[in-house]
């Protein structure tokens, strides 16, 4: 990045911070703060272990320093400005989740456009929020677009603030479906022996009330419903697609789906051994399709620094945006994270890495070389290293 590009971006970041009110996270003075200044050369050095006392009033600090990136800690401390973690005196931490397009199995790097990656990330976010809302019942959630390739969720419910790293790893594994054992999802219930039968039988149930068991149950039920509607031949074809389910077992399942549907509704998978076999395969599909592939270390690290909502991401020129839950559906990062400050006028840039870009609701096909472009696009390209500032 050329000197004049850096100076330009830094100056315009400053204008943004002067114009944009920014609300700090709760307990801001108990947190560690860090930032990356605009420096020469490819490397970045983070200035960290700062308290708000060191920085001064946040808005003023940002307008004065105009940093490239700004972070605050998930952790709260007695002395957030101490230079070592042990010296800080840990009190508690937000539970933070990070979904990054780079880590999504569904993303094809080098092939998916930025917009496609972000869309896939948003799907994963929806799945994550399902877990956090329904399973965990969290109430204090903040959803944030990271300004880069994904989303963050900050959970600040009292009940999770004190959890240590191991406990947080359990949360990670839960939303990722790691370590899930079909046998442990299943509840066993002893039923009295039927007339003429001596020994009592054990029924196995997928719990319908919650957890992965309920997710698997729901899918199994959908399958049973679909099969019930099908004619026998189609149904047998559907069911035989599962491993180890031959025609005979498929037929048995079809009959049970017809005659004893209520039992399947109740989660009983012991009606026929075939059910359990299929359920186990359905479980694998459920995990593959419903897990939220969050980045583990971000959640397990109780001292993690996270981007400050409202700040600018120096690698994209986009804003880190706090998203109200009601607005989430409609949220389009490539429109809603474009800073107002950069909209409405053109600047001269020298495009070094041409190609297609979608931004602020417009599609551009850029040629190489010096040209006038909307400022938001110019800033985006320069921040990403695809253009340099040109003489106006």
């Amino acid at each position: 990045m050329h000197e004049q590009t850096r100076a330009y971006l830094r100056g315009r970041f400053g204008d943004y911070y002067r114009r944009t009110g920014l609300s700090p996270p709760p307990d801001a003075s108990e947190r560690e703060w860090g930032y990356v200044p605009w420096t020469e050369g490819p490397g970045e050095t983070m200035v960290r272990h700062r308290s708000l006392l060191d920085l001064g009033e946040l808005g003023e600090f940002l307008a004065r320093e105009r940093p490239k990136h700004v972070y605050f800690s998930a952790g709260r401390y007695d002395d957030p400005g101490a230079s070592t973690m042990s010296g800080k005196g840990w009190r508690s931490s937000d539970l933070v989740f990070d979904l990054d397009a780079d880590h999504l199995p569904s993303v094809v790097l080098g092939e998916d456009s930025y917009a496609t990656m972000l869309a896939k990330c948003k799907d994963a976010l929806e799945r994550l929020l399902d877990f956090l809302d329904d399973d965990f019942g969290f109430e204090d959630l903040t959803v944030v677009f990271s300004g880069g390739r994904g989303y963050h969720v900050h959970v600040r419910d009292e009940t999770v603030r004190g959890l240590d790293s191991d406990a947080r790893r359990e949360v990670v594994d839960y939303v990722r479906g790691i370590g899930l054992e079909f046998d442990h999802l299943v509840d066993e219930e002893t039923v009295d022996g039927e007339a003429g039968r001596v020994s009592p039988a054990t029924n196995r149930y997928l719990p319908a009330e919650g957890g992965w068991g309920a997710r698997v149950h729901e899918r199994l039920l959908e399958l049973a419903e679909a099969v019930r509607e099908q004619d026998e031949e189609t149904a047998i074809e559907t069911l035989s697609a599962y491993d180890d389910i031959g025609e005979r077992r498929a037929r048995a399942m079809y009959n049970i789906a017809g005659d004893r549907f209520e039992e399947i509704e109740r989660g009983n998978i012991s009606a026929h051994t075939a059910f359990e076999q299929v359920a186990e395969q359905v479980a694998a599909v459920t995990v593959a399709e419903e897990n939220a592939p969050i980045d583990e270390p971000v959640t397990t690290d109780t001292n993690r620094l996270i981007r400050l909502p409202g700040s600018l991401h120096g690698g994209s020129g986009l804003a880190v945006v706090r998203i109200e839950r009601a607005d989430l559906d409609a949220f389009d990062p490539l429109v809603d994270a474009v800073p107002e400050t950069f909209v409405g006028h053109d600047i001269a840039v020298d495009v070094t890495d041409p190609g297609a870009v979608e931004l602020n609701g417009e599609a551009f096909d850029l040629d190489e070389g010096v040209q006038q472009l909307p400022e938001y696009l110019g800033v985006f390209l320069m921040a990403r290293g695809r253009a340099e500032k040109a003489q106006e």
Partner: protein, 360 residues
Amino acid sequence: MAIEPLHARYPFLGAARRAVDEAGVDLAQVVASEEAVVERGLERVETAVAEREVGDPHRRTRVELLSYPVARVLVSLVDERVLTRACARAEAATAHERFTEEFATTAEYKSTASGRLTLADLLAEFDLTAAVRETPDGYRVEVGAYLDLAADQWGDEWRLVNRALADGEVRVGDDELLELLRQAVRHRVEEGLPLSVPDPVATELDDEVDRIRETLAELELTREIDTVVPELFPPCMKHLLDRVQKGDHLEHHSRFAIASFLTSIGMTTDDIVDLFEVNPGFGEEATRYQVDHIRGKTSPTEYSPPSCATMQSYGDCVNMDDICEDVIDQSHPLNYYEHRLDESDEDDLVDWRESEDAGA
């Protein structure tokens, strides 16, 4: 508050500690003059190590109760993590056995006779009253409290991913709730250890401390792996190390796995950076940061390397061999390595750190 049998049965209770305080007991004097108490304290510790419980109670309530703080002092003086853990586990096991029985009989007689411990008492003791709710099919435990108590439980059935978690509550059975309370006791016992012990008290207990040290040495409980022989690494770790050395980009979980494994076998950050730095493309700063981080320098928690099950779910378990399957039963990569070390002739082992490659 007088010393009651209840306090001696459950010496970790806040009420028990208050009773000791109010009785004006001076620990220095006790260790100097009440031999029975010291003896029983020592027995608590030794039985904890050998039998995973704390042994039969002394017939005198006072002796039994005071032996608990004395045991904590002994554990603090020896100051070995294995011992602290063993004692906490044993105290918890004994408490669990006692309250399980007590709750069963209380339910039978429906008596609220004083001097008995009820489930409600115990929940209140650990601040769990609001976090635990009785339901027709067991209990619901608020998820934060559950994780606190279940995160270090053995067994996949305790893992959150396998539980019916709905609306912030985890369903647990009656016995499981008591297991969680056992864990709460364990945490309580470990809390604040090691204590700082005044010199006069420490001197009085010199002999006892020596005896405990001997017992530990015999059991080889303090042994930690501190040998680095990459040829004996489990296949998964060999593979990851290979990839790092080739300069491959590893995903977080893989880097975490190899770095935490190397840390657990006694390597320092410098060692690890050296071992990794075969390829100049591998950023030293990034490695250092990550390794430091895993080592707990920049974080209060120490990370332990992932188990085989976790390795497998991340796709990091590769080239599994006979030892994985038959000897260690796919339990933990460290078990694999320990087994290989045990099998080898110690004299033939060349520690990588003493070999020529190191630091080159």
